[in-house]
Amino acid sequence: MRRLNPVCKFFGILATAVVLSLFYVPMLNLGVFAACLLAAACSRVPLRHACAILLPALLIAVGMFFSAYHFSADTAMGAHSGMFTDARVWNGLLLAGRLMGFAGLGMLFTLTTNQIDFIRALNTQLKLPARFAYGIIAAWGMFPRMAREYSKTRSSFRARGLRAGFVSPALLLPLLVKSVRWSESMAVAMESKGFGETDTRSHYYEFRAKAADIAFAVLAPAAVVMAGVWLG
């Protein structure tokens, strides 16, 4: 998965998610989720990173399952599959499985794709304007700094004997001021390195869609369609 062209991978996974949303088959959802786990394992995605994404989704999915189980509008709804004779179980699994299917697809893309390569590929292959593309990359680099500054701001409140909650507006004001200044500094730094308004840049990184990339973008959603028809 890591070697796939980022743009083809993105569209392949996006199309798969769209197709998945058109079917109402619990086993299809769970099958997609399992396939995502398998692909992630084959791509040597660190378990810790995968869990960081999937565990919150799992928690919500469990909640959705029980909500759908207990508050099913129609007790006979959709219970035509031989595997799920209880409509409430079917209903719960449908919603929870769908959420896990989407979470699995998102996890697979996020953890097997270099975000900067993805933006570069959007810039070179899909002609996303360079100002927009590199603006996103610069903003992306700000997040770790934001976290450090947030921690520093909390420390400053403690140093002054003030209490500030986790999302206190008092903490957000200094962060807001700093963010504006950072964005100005970043814009100046980028321009001083020759980043201009005209898109006459050369491109060091080449992103080309090979046969395998196109095959993934086509076959992944097609496989879901076939599985959905077969299971449905």
Partner: protein, 571 residues
């Protein structure tokens, strides 16, 4: 040539000495005022600002530069120095074509490189002519790794793919950072980041390198190494460098380890240039401290005054009078204005009993042990300095002492274990002054900043008494007229004074300062350190400060520790 104001130079330098002719030996010609013939005197490759009037206000009010002219000759390293707020950085940003696009308005005058208007050159072409290195190493990178950043630069100026590899290799090799090639930029130290920034300029092959206090955030060893590489760029590759800096030691060489790399020095004063073409180590340099410039031969504190005494800190220019809330008005300290003979003491303060203690302290950062086995004791009425390279753990140690980080072992402040002191009470035991004053502000106005501390401390008979005390403190710090402004709108020196004033109202027995004189000119440094020294001397405050500046530590501290390899050693 127009005349210069009295500039404090002892050799009669002034109107007569500043003429176009001086530039031929000094690299930088002319002058102040509307005359400015020197702007046209430099050859075609020169960088010149002619009769420039620039204001940060869009209506042109309160100009930062007014009728200002200066020219810089190519293929030399010129250091531009002077007190804070005299327009050095503004000049640099104009020369780089960043202003007025990003701030302010240029009401008159021209900024030209080789006869071409700098602001009119498109960024992708301008980068090959003028490159800029900024003070804050954290805010000049767009990409994630050094290699990506260099490639980004070269793509911007349309370098062909086949040539990019060679230029990246050359830039990394020149700056000696081949090993950092694929390291994430956010994991690098400040010195390493500045080397990557320099590598970007080398890769861009900019003819002019403009540097805005590039060493303010990094340790002396890294600064010297960077300065020597910049010197090589001038000597070996014919580049031109203009560096704005308060401190000259890394440029002119303070010792054998730091050779002189500067060709000339230009001094700015209020309203324009006071002197150009000063040769390093010439007699003319003796006048620089009077302009707020630190030179290697100048001590921050006169050598006959012992550490921690007021006599040591007399600034040579007017500076604010600090008044500490809750202190006796009769003993109000006017550190700046008091003449030396009124100093509280001219003999070393007697050592007082140990008041704060570190026993076998260890601190982790990100799960990795950074400090271990630290032992130290700090007496009341003493200044303790912690030296160490960037990334050695100075800030980590200070944060642990202030209770911001968990630690192993024991840290006792004023008799209490820091980790057990209730959080609301800790601020009255240990005060922490952040390296960047902006990190410390908690209120939306200058007045609110001081009132916050007073309310947290308590002990005032009503709102009116609290307000009166806040007024006294702010007037003492020279900030009363800014009371309704946001702290973020103050200048850097004013922000530093506000941060200190706001914290000193707590009257903590232990004050911990992370780089208290970071990015300050000589006046501001003496003012801040004079105030702190007097509190130490008269009120028995214990001051613990971290710094990269060995001279600062030697001039003011009673005890100096060096943090190296996670261990604290007596210097």
């Amino acid at each position: 040539m127009s005349s210069c104001p009295n500039n404090g130079f002892s050799d009669g330098v002034g109107a007569g000495a500043i003429d176009a002719g001086s530039g031929s030996s000094g690299g930088c010609r002319d002058n102040v005022g509307a005359g400015g013939g020197g702007a046209d005197a430099v050859d075609g490759a020169g960088l010149s600002l002619a009769k420039v009037a620039f204001s940060y206000h869009m209506d042109g009010e309160q100009p930062a530069l007014s009728g200002f002219s200066v020219s810089f000759a190519p293929r030399e390293l010129t250091v531009v120095t002077g007190a804070s707020g005299c327009g050095k950085s503004t000049m640099l940003y104009l020369a780089a074509g960043i202003y007025p696009k990003y701030a302010g308005s240029l009401t008159s005058g021209t900024v030209r490189l080789g006869g071409e208007d700098v602001a009119g050159i498109p960024p992708e072409r301008r980068a090959a002519l003028i490159g800029m290195m900024f003070q804050n190493p954290d805010l000049q990178f767009c990409m994630d790794t050094a290699e990506s950043e260099l490639i980004f630069c070269l793509e911007n100026i349309s370098i062909e793919r086949g040539e990019i590899d060679a230029r990246v290799e050359d830039a990394l090799e020149f700056c000696g950072i081949g090993h950092l090639r694929r390291r994430r930029l956010d994991t690098l130290s400040g010195g390493e980041k500045q080397k990557v920034a320099l590598a970007c300029l080398v890769a861009l092959d900019s003819q002019w390198l403009l540097l805005d206090e590039p060493f303010a955030n990094i340790d002396a060893a890294s600064a010297s190494e960077l300065a020597s590489r910049l010197g090589r760029l001038v000597r070996e590759r014919g580049k031109s460098v203009i560096a704005v800096d308060h401190k000259l030691d890394v440029w002119i060489g303070a010792d054998e380890q730091r050779p002189c790399v500067a060709n000339s020095i230009t001094v700015f004063g209020k309203g324009g240039i006071m002197k150009t073409g000063i040769r390093p180590h010439s007699a003319e340099m003796n006048g620089l401290p009077a302009q707020g410039v630190d030179i290697p031969a100048e001590r921050y504190r006169p050598p006959d005054a012992p550490a921690g005494t007021v006599a040591a800190h007399m600034p040579t220019a007017p500076a604010p009078t600090f008044v500490i809330a809750g202190s006796d008005p009769q003993s109000t300290r006017d550190v700046a204005a008091a003449p030396a003979h009124t100093a509280a003491s001219t003999t070393p303060a007697p050592a007082r009993e140990t008041f704060h203690r570190l026993d076998d302290v260890g601190v982790d950062a990100g799960g990795v042990p950074v400090l271990s086995g630290l032992c130290a004791s700090m007496g009341a009425g003493r200044i303790h300095a912690v030296l160490g390279a960037s990334g050695s753990g100075k800030s980590t140690l200070l944060e642990a002492i202030c209770g911001f980080r968990p630690y192993r072992g024991s840290i006792r402040a004023a008799g209490g274990e820091v980790s057990r002191i209730p959080k609301r009470q800790l601020c009255r035991t240990v005060g922490f002054v952040f390296q960047n004053p902006q990190d410390q502000f908690v209120a939306s106005t200058v007045l609110g900043e001081v009132l916050t501390g007073m309310k947290a401390r308590g002990g005032f008979a009503g709102e009116a008494a609290c307000l009166a005390e806040a007024e006294r403190v702010l007037r003492g710090a020279g900030l009363w007229r800014y009371r309704m402004l946001s702290p973020y709108m103050l200048s850097q020196g004013e922000q530093r004074r506000l941060a200190l004033a706001a914290l000193l109202v707590y009257r903590c027995p232990l004050l911990v300062c992370d780089e208290p004189t970071y990015a300050q000119d000589l006046f501001s440094l003496r003012s801040v350190m004079g105030m702190l020294s007097e509190l130490v001397e008269n009120d028995g405050l214990t001051l613990l400060m971290s710094t990269h500046d060995e001279k600062l530590a030697r001039d003011y501290a009673h005890h100096i520790w060096r943090l190296d390899g996670g261990m604290l050693c007596e210097d």
